[in-house]
């Protein structure tokens, strides 16, 4: 600011717009300067993950500059991807996420349509309830659920504990409320005349949903799908509490529990595993960034 006023004083006889464009240029420079600083802060961990993943164990424990790779190697990647265990984690994560996304989308699209368009007794309360459940964190629920699962085993003999597919039952608690909530928002923004037109054209409720609402609200649908996927891919607490056997683990827990063996940290492999584990959400984000961001902001701005 002082620089700007000083230059103003010096350039007093000059026309006013000259100083405006000058102060604007300075503001721009400062903006870029700080953006670069923040970008460094925000991107350091993932970049450091990548740097470490290219190092051999010998280089990691050497007393050289940790920010530079002197002898890049892919051995961490090769080792992980040929190791059965890591591939099992990946497979478990993928199956769980895909199933959870499908279940979530079916449940929440149907419910959102009913709540947004076909009023029924208690539908307004239910909409509020959906939002409230979204605010209940999983950290509040894992202990009673843990106990409930033990109870189910004791009474019916069905073992829900320590199976990766149990997570398919659990994750919808995290994804369904939010997805329903933003789908209600997207559906409510569709003009009422559109379903009336469809009604006159002879569409049933189901046809209105599949042929009109879903295509028109496709951006919202994609945003909700991305959300459901990211959440189920990243979930850490439920698998940590509910699965223990190595072959039942999903990625986040698998990496944290199996690659850290006692005090022996194999950081090259851990970072590689974490980076590969972060890859699917990152790739989706890279390609569908606009939908991702629309979904993020929809929770608070819509509805």
């Amino acid at each position: 600011m002082t620089a700007v006023t000083a230059s103003d004083a010096v350039a007093a006889p000059r026309p006013k717009y000259g100083s405006i464009s000058k102060s604007r240029r300075w503001a721009l420079r400062w903006s870029y300067f700080f953006l670069v600083l923040f970008a460094i802060f925000f991107l350091t961990p993932p970049i450091y993950m990548f740097i470490t993943s290219l190092k051999s164990s010998a280089e990691i424990s050497a007393a050289t500059n940790p920010w530079w790779v002197f002898e890049p190697t892919l051995e961490n990647y090769i080792e992980l991807l040929t190791q059965n265990q890591y591939l099992i984690f990946f497979r478990n994560s993928a199956i769980v996420s895909v199933c959870v996304v499908s279940i979530t989308m079916i449940i929440s699209v149907l419910a959102a349509f009913a709540l947004a368009r076909m009023k029924f007794w208690g539908s307004a309360t239910l909409a509020t309830g959906v939002f409230l459940t979204y605010l209940i964190p999983e950290t509040l629920l894992f202990i009673p659920l843990f106990k409930t699962f033990a109870f189910v085993r004791d009474t019916t003999g069905i073992e829900l504990m320590n199976h990766w597919w149990t997570l398919i039952i659990l994750y919808p608690t995290l994804t369904v409320p939010f997805c329903t909530w933003i789908m209600i928002g997207y559906f409510a923004s569709i003009p009422k005349e559109l379903d009336e037109a469809a009604l006159i054209d002879g569409a049933t409720w189901l046809q209105t949903l599949t042929k009109i609402f879903i295509p028109v609200a496709l951006p919202g649908l994609i945003a909700a799908t991305i959300f459901a996927f990211t959440v189920s891919w990243a979930q850490f607490l439920y698998p940590l509490a509910f699965t223990t056997s190595t072959d039942q683990l999903v990625l986040p827990v698998g990496i944290v529990t199996t690659l850290i063996k006692g005090d022996v940290f194999n950081w090259g492999q851990i970072m590689t595993g974490a980076l590969l584990g972060a890859a699917p959400p990152l790739i989706i984000y890279a390609f569908l960034m606009d939908y991702y961001i629309a979904g993020l902001t929809a929770g608070a701005t819509k509805g």
């Binding site: 009336e196 006159i200 054209d201």
Partner: protein, 366 residues
């Protein structure tokens, strides 16, 4: 053959009446316009005919069949919405054919009907476009095309032109009239714009406060309104209303507007107004176009009077002049060259052949 008849139709929203028992017979091929201020129940009536609103009481029949319980799709109607309600993800062709495709009409039949409708509306080259790529007028045509394609018994229009700019509105108005002349389908058209109503309709239905004020041909409504509401609603600028008294003197009637202004009642109306002489609740109604400058040749029952003009509004082909009689503002329409000036005195002519007397207690025109 598709007459539409409404018998004692009532619509309540949570006990608040929106439509309070209306009767209306619409003949086959007729173009009916429902007109009225917002909240008068015209849109609700249309939506009840469409089946989009439940009928609280009464009966609606289309083509002789009572349709109270028939869902919209089985009523064989088509509707054009105010915001067009085009499916944004479908092309024009898909939009127009959506209803037929749901009914599983054969492909070449669909093609033929869409092509026919597109030709009528002159939108053949737009068939592959998405609604987003169309102008307002084009969207309006597509919405009409979607209605025509279905070849319904009844067309329903819900304020279809109110989203268009003034120029396009006039153009599309003509377009709608032409289409109706071509396809000759019974049409119910809702608007709040009385010009639209007058220009399009075979018969106009004026609604107010959930009831029908008057049904009639546009010219009938203009010349012989039955209620004060219709008299004031039809015509622009609106009819002037002034409290008045009918005085009887030596067998002739005079209508007195103020202490120093009264006109003789035309002879052919003497019998009609005689019973009301002396009543205090009467209103005198005269349209601005019947208050003019004094021409060279004065017809019978036209009477000059002098006023002080307060404001003039030149419109080009005419000039509106405003003055007051006993504190009530009156509007007249004079020739631009008649010499009206702000604040100037002017001699005007009242054409009492077109006068109306209204009983203010019943709001009916006598």
């Amino acid at each position: 053959m598709a007459q539409v008849s409404l018998r004692k139709v009532v619509k309540l929203y949570d006990q608040t009446p929106a439509v309070r028992g209306i009767d209306l017979e619409i003949a086959d091929k007729e173009f009916i316009v429902l007109v009225g201020p917002s909240g008068c129940g015209k849109s609700t009536t249309l939506r009840m005919i469409a089946g989009l609103e439940e009928i609280t009481d009464g009966q609606i029949a289309i083509g002789g069949d009572v349709v109270n319980d028939v869902p919209p799709k089985d009523r064989d109607i088509a509707m054009v919405f105010q915001n067009y309600a085009l499916y944004p993800h479908m092309s024009v062709f898909e939009n127009m054919s959506f209803g037929l495709r749901l009914k599983r009409v054969a492909k070449d039949e669909i093609r033929r009907r869409v092509d026919d409708a597109a030709r009528i509306l002159d939108i053949t080259e737009l068939l592959d476009r998405k609604p987003k790529q169309l102008s307002g007028g084009q969207r309006q045509r597509v919405a009409m095309g979607r209605a025509i394609v279905r070849d319904p018994k009844v067309f329903l229009f819900d304020e279809p032109l109110s989203n268009l700019d003034a120029k396009l509105r006039v153009q599309m108005r003509t377009e709608i009239k032409k289409v109706h002349q071509k396809v000759r389908t019974t049409t119910v058209y809702v608007t709040h714009d009385q010009v639209e109503a007058m220009t399009l309709a075979d018969r106009v239905v004026v609604m107010n406060g959930g009831i029908i004020e008057q049904v009639g041909a546009p010219n009938d409504l203009y010349h012989s309104p039955q209620t004060k509401f219709v008299a004031g609603f039809i015509g622009s600028p609106a009819m002037n209303f002034l409290p008045c008294r009918i005085e009887e003197a030596a067998g002739a009637l005079r209508v007195r507007l103020s202490d120093n202004l009264s006109f003789p009642v035309p002879e052919d109306r003497t019998a009609r107004y005689k019973p009301h002489a002396g009543k205090t609740s009467l209103m005198f109604g005269l349209r601005p176009e019947h208050i003019t400058e004094v021409p060279r040749h004065v017809e019978p029952n036209q009477h000059p009077f002098e006023v002080t003009i307060e404001v003039t509004e030149p419109m080009g082909m005419e000039t509106l002049v405003y003055f007051t009689i006993d504190g009530t503002e009156i509007c007249g329409r004079v020739n631009p060259n008649a010499g009206a000036t702000d604040g100037g005195k002017m001699k005007l002519l009242a054409d009492l052949n077109n006068m109306h007397i209204i009983d203010d207690t019943t709001a009916r025109v006598l």
